[in-house]
Amino acid sequence: MVRTLAMFTDTSLCIGCRACQVACKQWNELGLEVPEWTGGYQNHAHFTDKTYRLVRFIEEPGGKPNGDLAWLLMSDVCKHCAEAGCLDACPTGAIYRTEYGTVNINQDVCNGCRYCVSSCPFGVVSFNESTGTAKKCTFCNDRIHNGLGPACAKACPTESIQFGFRDELVGKAAKRVEKLKAMGFKDAQLYGADAKGFLGGLNAFFLLLAKPSTYDLPDNPRLPQRNVMVDSLLSIGSALVVGLGVLLSFRERGKGGPHA
């Protein structure tokens, strides 16, 4: 594998202009959508099959140090998890990891079973009715294979979205958190930067100004496949009990034993 690429989204720099969201739509030719009334500036409420980059507008009463309303902005995207629930779930092998460490869906292989949709801990994958396939951020696969950065990072006017090698970006991000803390943002924290943390680290990681749940992010996302072993054992156990019951009732009825 080549050196892992990453996107670092520093939410403290986001001004909510949505240049990233528009650039993503244009480059990936995602098409029109009917806007949604979400009660605020955010559109849409969640990722869709035509919205891979989504700027979240979050109003948090009392979120500022002086008790005022905090207006938090965050440009959200597929996390390209090192241990990706969607990839593990896909039964066709349509979801694959590129040599850069990103996670992509091969549109020619996906058959639209939708298991990945329910297996992403962040609700990123969306089903497209017209193609019948699953859609999500590709990390601009075509661009990164031609020496360009992702369209969203390119368009961002404040460098809130940065693109580069993962190890370098993590270093930068750590320094940035220290600086913000010194400035009084006591809840400033990195989300997904730690490769030893949840999901093996996220290749699109974030700097947040409040706890993850404020941004609609799980505090400690886990691989959905974690239950397979226990569940399978439980179901084998119930098989034995039911099997025994059926066996007993046939024994009773058969009386003289097998094939009497």
């Binding site: 969640h46 039964p91 066709t92 962040f122 569940d231 039911v242 046939f250 009825r253 058969g254």
Partner: protein, 242 residues
């Protein structure tokens, strides 16, 4: 926030028919191997019932895909830890078993019968798998409903399994805790308590315990259990995604 996959009525039917197919084969194979001469008919009926049911299951699964013509892509990989991948394979493999067992059950030769019994014992495994992996599948998603497997069970008009089912449902609700709320007191509560627990379990159990000498009562109990099985799958699948 995790997203629901929008698996709807077609998948409810698939879970339901898959459960019956697995259960029918399971019962047939046990009756075939351990039952007496009187149980031959049960065995044959079970085998012959499971074949068309699995076929319908396969068609339902394919029809529910976004691109049905690509259903063979499921056969590109086999992921042993992935319930969706295993499930697709199981439908195919179990389908083969039901086909062979059904064909053999039409023959009266003793050597065919011996072969059929052996095949049945292996097929049981796949049948049970088909009937129960769906529970593992549902609990292994990012949706907030991740309790242990407890509902993907077989449907027999049999008091042992009804008792086991009541116990498992109680365990399921206890294990789910707050996550069970949409099931037991939400939008689906009436269906859950009335349709599943009342009509689908308690009533047939009572009929069964009272004695099913009367054939009509026995048939009623069996039909009620089947309805309960359908309701169970419906409320579980829909409330997970609500």
């Amino acid at each position: 926030m995790p997203k629901p996959p929008h698996w709807e009525l077609m998948i409810v039917w698939y879970f339901f028919l898959g459960g019956i197919a697995g259960g029918a084969y399971f019962t047939a194979a046990i009756a075939d191997n351990f039952g007496g001469a009187r149980d031959r008919g049960v065995a044959r009926a079970g085998y012959l019932l499971s074949l068309p049911l699995v076929a319908v299951c396969g068609l339902l699964l394919i029809a529910d895909l976004g691109v049905p013509t690509r259903f063979l892509n499921m056969m590109r990989t086999l992921k042993v830890w992935d319930p969706m991948s295993i499930g697709a394979w199981i439908v195919g493999v179990f389908g083969l078993f039901t086909f062979v067992s059904s064909a053999l059950s039409l023959s009266s030769s003793p050597s065919h019968a011996a072969l059929r019994r052996k095949i049945g014992l292996v097929g049981i495994f796949f049948g049970f798998f088909l009937a129960s992996y769906t529970g593992v599948l549902l609990s292994n998603s990012a949706m907030p409903f991740s309790a242990g497997e407890g509902w993907g069970k077989l449907k027999h008009a049999d008091r042992y399994s009804m008792l086991v089912e009541l116990l498992l449902l109680a365990a399921l609700i206890a294990a789910l805790g707050a996550a069970a709320r949409p099931l037991v007191s939400g939008h689906f509560a009436t269906l859950f308590w009335g349709g599943l627990i009342g009509l689908g379990l308690l009533l047939p159990l009572a009929l069964d315990l009272l004695g099913t000498r009367a054939r009509a009562l026995g048939a009623l109990a069996a039909a009620l259990v089947l309805i309960g099985g359908f309701v169970l799958r419906y409320v579980v699948l829909m409330s997970v995604q609500a």
